[in-house]
Each structure stands twice: as C-alpha cells, then as structure tokens.
C-alpha cells in the first residue's frame, strides 16, 4: 500500500549503538556482538515485569469486580504482592511425586515456557523497536505456539496422576482446535497486508490513524482471534484444562515451587503476548490514534528531528503497552462475567462455529480485496 512510504524510518537504536562503539575503536563485528544480547535481555525483563503487573491487575480487578479491596498491605495499593507471590514460589520445596517420570516432569514446564518467550522475538514496539524483523513474523508466533501442547502432554503424562493426564490431554486438544481458526483469522490480515512481517502489518494500518486500523476492516476476524487467543491462553471461560471442580488443577496438579511458577509465568506471559498480538494485528500496534506524522506537521516539526524521533518512539511503546493492557483488562473482566463452558461445548465452538466462520471471513476478505483493492490492500 502507498501508506508505507509515509512512514519514517524512526529511531534506530542499533545503528546508533553500533556507530557509537565504532567511534570508540571497536570493529563492526564486535560492536554488533555487544548489541545482540541487549534487546533480548530488555524484552525478557519487560515480559517478566509485564507478568508482575498482570498478576497485580488480576488481583485488584478481580477484587473490584467482587466488591473487595484486594491486596493492600504489600507496598502502596499492594503493588508488591506479585513479588511476594513469586518469592513464596521460589522458596517452596520442589516435589517430584513418587513413581513419576522425573526427567519429563522437569522438562514439561520448560517446554511450555520457552516457546512463549521465544515468540516475543517478533513483537514490535516501534518501527525498529523489536528484537528481529524476521520475514515470517506472525507465522513464527503461530508455529512456536504449537510446540506448547507437547510440554502440556509431557507434564500431564509424567505426573503419574489421572487428573494431570486428563488435564494435559484436554489442554492439547483445546490448543489444537483453536489453533486453526486463529491461524485463519491471521491469514485474512496477512492477505490484506501482503506480508507476514509484524512491522509491515502495523505500517499498513497506520495511514490514517484510528480509522485505518484493521479492526474496522476485520471485525469478525477480531472477535474470532480474541476468542481463540483466550482459549490458547486457557483463560476463563476456556480454562478447562485446569478446571478446579473437575480436575483439581489439571496438568499442574502435582507441581509445586519453581516448576509451578514456570507454568504460572508461562500462562501470564502468554496472555500479555496474545494481547500484544491483538493490538499489533487489529489495533494498529504502536500507532497513535492520530498519526504522529500529522501531529508533527501541524506543530511545524520535521519527523526526522532527533527530539521528535524520541517522542515518537516513546509514544509508540506507550501505545502498544496501553492497548495490550486494555485487552488484558477485558480478559480479566471476562473471567468474572462469563461462566466456564463444558469440554464438548468448547470443542463444538471451535470446530463447528469458529472454523466455518473463520473460513467465510477469509473468503470474504479475499473477495473484498479483489473488489476494492484500495481499501483492502490490493
């Protein structure tokens, strides 16, 4: 689309960093090598801090929904409560049940967490503010999230507990069922953007601010994607793998201490990641509701001026995080609004309702793209 030409290259931290180090007399290769770990560590820290914020929000919003106060004594407004939770889990005894398979029992939570963290590779916070703008972008996220069921099956099987095994099987079945409508909803977006790269998908939405966001062109896809994302994260109303009145805690039943914390961390990182993906795919990613280029133009500033670039990048990060946490807020509200579905209702919803609707959505998008190439990214 022609809008991509309007977008400035934005802040390029890598180039500046490498230039600075070369100015200090390092070779280009060494400077790049020093740069490599920085974005990874930053994103990892951001993900973990995001989880802490998420846990606090979950506690506070849940409390507000139920007309309680929630955590109050650990720090102001209870902001240190998630830290206390984490510390408690670190100091707990690590128990491996009798006759369980110790190796698989340990490997399971790791296999659940690692793909989720790897997926942060493609989450963009700005034009150049992501770890790697790989060409397969969003497809990488989908394929990485398909590794997770193996970890769930592994931990369910190795726990030597019938509830764990059932929970693991349910989790894998749910994950597989909802992967397909999710991928089809993403495919419709990819078709409109002509690219799998997350950066291109966001750029294609930022021609006219809020009006050009994909949510207006893909309302059905947005709903499908959000439902599937909730199901992939095992959030209520789809938290059947750990439905407490049926399966104790599903595949996590036998876990304690740090291994349980890995599941906990994984599910919350996944929730934040899914919310970020919704904001990237449908809500214009780092885009401000009014394009920053227009604002700079009205204020008589050049988009390439260093101060404007820093401000643009900061607004980008703030907007991405804001949109994501708005969606997390809705996910928490949904948790206390919608009752849990049964496992057969869950699979019916996935296969008999969402899958056909997603297919129709894809076909309609293709038809609209052929009919109105201007509006649907021809």
């Amino acid at each position: 689309m022609e809008t991509t030409t309007l977008v400035s290259s934005g802040l390029d931290l890598q180039a500046s960093f490498v230039d600075t180090l070369q100015g200090l007399g390092l070779s280009p290769g060494a400077a790049r090598l020093l740069w490599l770990p920085l974005p990874m560590v930053t994103v990892l820290v951001a993900a973990v801090v995001g989880v802490l914020v998420n846990v606090w929000l979950e506690r506070k919003i849940s409390a507000a929904v139920q007309q309680r106060i929630g955590p109050e004594y650990a720090g102001p407004l209870g902001v240190l409560q998630p830290m206390a939770d984490g510390l408690k889990l670190v100091f707990k005894e690590d128990i491996i049940p009798a006759r369980a398979d110790g190796l698989l029992f340990t490997l399971g939570p790791v296999l659940v967490l690692v793909p989720v963290i790897l997926s942060w590779l493609v989450v963009p916070f700005g034009q150049n503010l992501l770890i790697s703008n790989v060409g397969v972008g969003i497809f990488l996220w989908i394929s990485l999230s398909s590794i997770q069921p193996i970890g769930l099956l592994m931990s369910g099987y190795s726990s030597n507990n019938k509830y764990s095994l059932l929970g693991g099987l349910r989790a894998a079945a749910q994950s597989i069922s909802y992967e397909i409508p999710l991928a089809l909803a993403v495919l419709a977006i990819v078709m409109m953007s002509n690219s799998l790269s997350t950066v291109d998908i966001v750029n294609q939405q930022n021609g006219a601010g809020i009006l050009s966001w994909n949510i207006w062109r893909q309302p059905v896809g947005f709903v499908i994607f959000w439902i599937c994302a909730l199901a992939e994260c095992e959030r209520l109303p789809f938290d059947l793998p750990e439905a407490e009145e049926e399966l104790v805690a599903g595949y996590q039943t036998e876990y304690s201490g740090m291994k349980f914390a890995l599941f906990y961390l994984g599910s919350y990182i996944n929730l934040v990641l899914s919310a970020l993906m919704v904001s990237v795919l449908y809500l214009g990613g780092w885009g401000f509701p009014v394009p920053v280029e227009w604002l700079a133009g009205w204020l008589g500033q050049s988009v390439d001026a260093p101060v404007v670039q820093v401000i643009t990048a900061t607004t980008g990060i703030v907007m991405t995080v804001l949109k994501a946490y708005l969606l997390v807020f809705f996910a928490i509200l949904l948790r206390w609004t919608v009752p849990r579905v049964r496992i057969d209702q869950l699979l019916d919803l996935g296969w008999k309702f969402l899958l056909p609707i997603a297919l129709v959505n894809l076909l309609v998008t293709a038809a609209l793209k052929l009919a109105f190439p201007m509006a649907f990214g021809g």
Partner: protein
Amino acid sequence: MTLASTIQQLCFLVLAAVVVVGALGVVLLPNIVYSAFLLGGVFLGVAGLYLLLNASFVAAAQILVYVGAVNVLILFAIMLVNKKENLAAIPGLLLRRLLSGGVCAGLFVLLLRVAFTTHWALPGPLPVGEEATIRIGEHLFSDYLLPFELASVLLLMAMIGAIVLARRDVYSSDVITGEPVDQGLIEKTRTPLLIDPSATSAAGAQPLLETTP
C-alpha cells in the same frame, strides 16, 4: 574463519548431533513415550537445520506441521491407548534384530557412498532469503498445482476414512431423545453398521466421540 561462520559451524554440529542421536533414540528406546517425545526433538532439530539454510518459512512450517500437529497426534494416540502390558515374546528375536540391523547398515553404507561420490556443488539459482515465501506460493499455484491438489485430495480421503473408522458404532436413534438419527453416509447395504439400542446393552457400546460428562 570469521565469527559468523564459526557459529554457523557450531550450530550445524549441534543440530546434526541432536537429529542423529534423537533419531537413534526414537528407534532404539524401549519406552514408546520417550520415542514419541524424542521424535518431536528430531523434528525441531530438522527445523533448526532449515533455519541454518536460510529457509525460515520452511522451518516454521516444519514446526507447525510436524511438531505441532503430527507429533501431538502421535502423543495423543499413545496416551489414550496407554495400556501397560507385557508383549508376548517373539521367537527368534535376536535373529530378527540382526537381520533388520543388517538391512539398515546396508542402506546406510549405500547412502554414504552416494553422499561421497555425488558432486554436490550444483549450480542453482541464488538463494532468495526472505523472498522464499512468495516464491513458494508462486510455485504452488503454477507448476506444482497438480501435486498440491493431489495432496489435498489425499488428505481429504484420509479425513473421511478417519471419520468412518471413528464412528463405526452408532445408534440408529438418539440415546437421549429417542429421535431417529440420519447416518446414511456411513450406512452400507450389506454390512449394516447401525445398532438398534434395544438389541444391545447400552453400557458397552458408547459412541466414540461422546465425551465423559
């Protein structure tokens, strides 16, 4: 040797070791669950090799299809039919093992000979990198259209076969409401599949797709 090529060599060695050792484990381990999990590891290793060859789309597709779908289905099958039973002793097991080992070794020697005698530096088009996705799409919809469509027909056949196999035992009427159920699709004239609920005891023959409440 530069840093980049050293790291590439290291990655290749590690991935190749993972694939070879994992594949040996899949074949040789007596515990079938370990074999299935190791198979997933082998698939991931192969995806890593693709990634090393700059084929990121193929790598992602490999993970999605083989690890995310095929391997999970294999695990599902193993865990749903996980009966711990001692298999009956097979007569002449040692001879069988020796024979199959000999066949495998022969095949390995043959492959090694092919690998060493072939002139591998084939002249080909330049690697396209990130453009590969577009190139694959173009090929699938032009000169590889027929194989692509045939593969989809094959998958459709497999799917219909799976449904017919899974729904072998069906009632001619709904268990709860008693209304007649139309199962004409899988009904055959010579071998009637539909069970009359009054004729059989309802306890033994639950339909397979029905989940426990």
